[in-house]
Amino acid sequence: MNKDLPAIRDQLNSVILGKHHQIDLCLCSLLARGHLLIEDLPGMGKTILAHALANVMGLAFSRIQFTSDLLPADILGVSIFDAGSSQFSFHEGPIFSSVVLADEINRASPKTQSALLEAMEERQVSIEGRVRNLPASFFVIATQNPLEQAGTFPLPESQLDRFFMRIRLGYPDRASERSLLEGEDRRDRLEGLPAVIDEKQLLAWQQQVATINASQALLDYVQDLVEQSRNARHFRIGLSPRAALDLVHAARAWAMLMERDFVIPEDVQAVLEPVAGHRLSPVVTEQGDINIESGAVATLLELTPVP
């Protein structure tokens, strides 16, 4: 379908080693115009991933480090009185960028968090009564540290639902780590990463996702999954209609990544964990136990027959 897509994947894989699946998911999220939440410990390469993504796509990148004293204006921007022209002129905040890395989003106050989340949802910012559109390829990668809970405001479930996907990078395998240790500095490679496509191409791809065929049988399967999540006693809260919509969309993007023009159940299964994992609460939740959540998705998969 398009030879640029494999090229992009290759580029990214050369920077982030041994994380093919996560990179695919990341691309999938970008293609589906959904925002990504990466939940992992520091030092796993989250920033590099986000940066590399922006570079390869030829997109503007900005990074916001969330802290407890971060204010909404620090993200969105402020109007400053310009003495020269005797007028208020608006200074765009870091959110006016194509790829925004919101680092450690759970450190900011809920007020600031919701400013970001609203912008994500609406793809626009209204400041001082004026609506300002964000770039067409606006894409947020937020990160969250799952372990350090002191002084943080973990995102509640209703906010988590706004993220299209949640992924974890995890430790690299031994071979990847070895080549990481042997090789040159990642940041240098980042600089040398060529832009494979431009924003226009990305937008075209994003529109192409909607044309991927999801058959009746497949939609049946998605509905069965959602229904199962609402019926089964394994889950405290079932999947929302938004989640169902996102699931179909993600599966389409995935199928496109896999260079197919129709969706098969395996696509849905591949994206189920990142799309549904953070929206599905298992009945027994132990604080900080992340395995149990992946268990919930596995259970859901197991329970739902493929039509």
Partner: protein, 693 residues
Amino acid sequence: MKKPALFNFSISTGLDPLPDQQALVALSLGFALAVSPHIEHLPVWLSLATVGFFLWRMWIMRHATAIPGRLLRYGLVIALVFLVYRHYGTVLGRDAGVALLVGLSAMKYLEIRDFRDCMLVVFLSYMIVLTSFLYSQSMLLGGYLLVVVILLTAVMQYLNHSDRSSLHKVLKNSALLVGLAMPLGLVLFLLFPRVPIGLFGLPGDSHAGMIGMSDVVRPGSINQLNENDDIAFRADIEGQVPSMQQRYWRGIVLGEYRDNAWRKHKRYLQTLRMPVPEHDEENIVNYSILLEPSNERWVFSLDLPIKKPSTLYWGRGQTLMTTTPMVERTRYDMSSAPGARFNSLSEAEHERYTAIPETVNASLQDIADDLYGQSRDTRSYIDNVLEFFRSEGFTYTLQPPLLGNDTPMRQFLLETRKGYCEHYASAFTLLMRVADVPARLVAGYQGGEWNPQGEYITVRQSDAHAWTEVWLDELGWVRIDPTAVVAPERIEYGLEALRLLVEQGTTLGSLNNEQIRAAIARPAMQMLWNRTVWFLDDINTSWYLWVIGYGKDEQESLLKRLGLGSLTGTGLLITAFVTIMLIAVVQGMLLLRRRGRRQEPAVFWYKRFCSRLEEMGQIRGQSEGPRDFGLRAAQALPGYGSQITRITSMYVNIHYADKKEDTAILRFKQAVKSFTGGRLGRRAEQKEGKPDA
């Protein structure tokens, strides 16, 4: 790996660990439902013990302690058997048997180790459901037990179900299963060879508690029935319904007075044929009697029966009887002529009906002489005696005083003068015999409640009555009811009304008809209630007539109508079996078609493909996508790799890429067919294609 099953339930794999609390609660619920109809006749201690066993088990589960040891369990079994023996005096028979079954099943709780034990308790519960029919076969109980069976089936599924989330689904499934079984049950009901004994050929104790008309009448013996509202029989009358005064239901003729009691003559049973008594052809009443089981042989008929069903025999004095005690509800069609009479009385009969023990004769001689002294003939003697009852302070009472053993009738006539119908009938008959007038006592029922809903008369045990028949040379046997003289209300309005009058403190015989009617008028609410009762009784009667009453005769006539009249025994069984098989096949086909209708052809053929692979040892998990499965199967079966991959990709293209052109489907079908070899289950291939087996 689970197979997609027809009813969405899976079979226990035996890998399940100890059943959890939820399963145990569900199990107990089913068990309790099954036992519930028995509660009223089980001893209280057993019900408590059942609950106790359950609580004990829950306690064991909560505290994760071991189940009671073998010695303790054996001890409990012995204790249970002993207690049951002490309570019933036996461990055999219906009551003790049911008690043992319930008790031992409850004890099973203590040793439930795995799901197999749970299933055993479920099966025992089914068994207990069955035993309920040993006590009652009413429609209400039948409906209730049907619900219980559905719930028990649901419990069984629930126990076996890996996913216990959807109670609704489990209930629906079990209702469907029971529903599917219904036609099969109906065929067995209609065709299974009937034996002309009770439903289950019950042992004798099943009717031991019954109280009914006894063939020995002594003061107090009928009286003991007056509180008993059990139904004795129902009479469905064609045409004009006889008035209250005419409703004398003849049961047993008692001609011998011995040891202060009226008894039937020896060799009571007479013949299949009797000369038809003289009667008015236009005055015949045709009716049918639906007799409740009484464990006796008396069949009650309107005075005086002239035609009987062929299965009944004539007893002495134009009464009807069966040859064996009645243990099931039976219907008899007969005809009576109210004015019929016999015109001959043989010498022997004359002697038999005037016989009286010497002591009794002596004790009553002076009273009879007194009354006869003023009479010119038998008729005026009868009038005198009746007048004596009417005017000498005799009263009718539901609680007659006890009489001594020496000369009870003399005591009654001269001292107490309070009595129930048997006192008056007995005294009257004896006074007749003292005067050498042939007389006999008739025991039966008088009255009965008209059920306008079902248009039949319901006669209860409390309507039991006794009266006298006197031989008059010119008229034959004439019915004389001395009770009618003392308490006309009893005869004209029935015992129910009489009881009401007594409760109101009315002196019997003091009111005129209008006053009585006003006194016994029922309030509107009561009428409504009565109507409901009548309605329910009507439904129940139909149930007994059509369902319970479906016996050998009914089966034969049905078979005749179906043109299968020649079938008996084995032939019937084979017919039933074949019919059931046919029904099952039809049901199966309907189910398959229903499933098939929802299925696209591609899915159908893909399933065939999967079945074939399953035979080759590659089972598709229910949540496994077709492509993943195809890859896995192709890897496991390298010899078929390309074929599997091709079929899978064809299926994926049709099913998920919406390339549903007929040619594509046709090609897919051919590919599957060539892969499965056109049919499933070829053993040779199965062996070859199972590399990991």
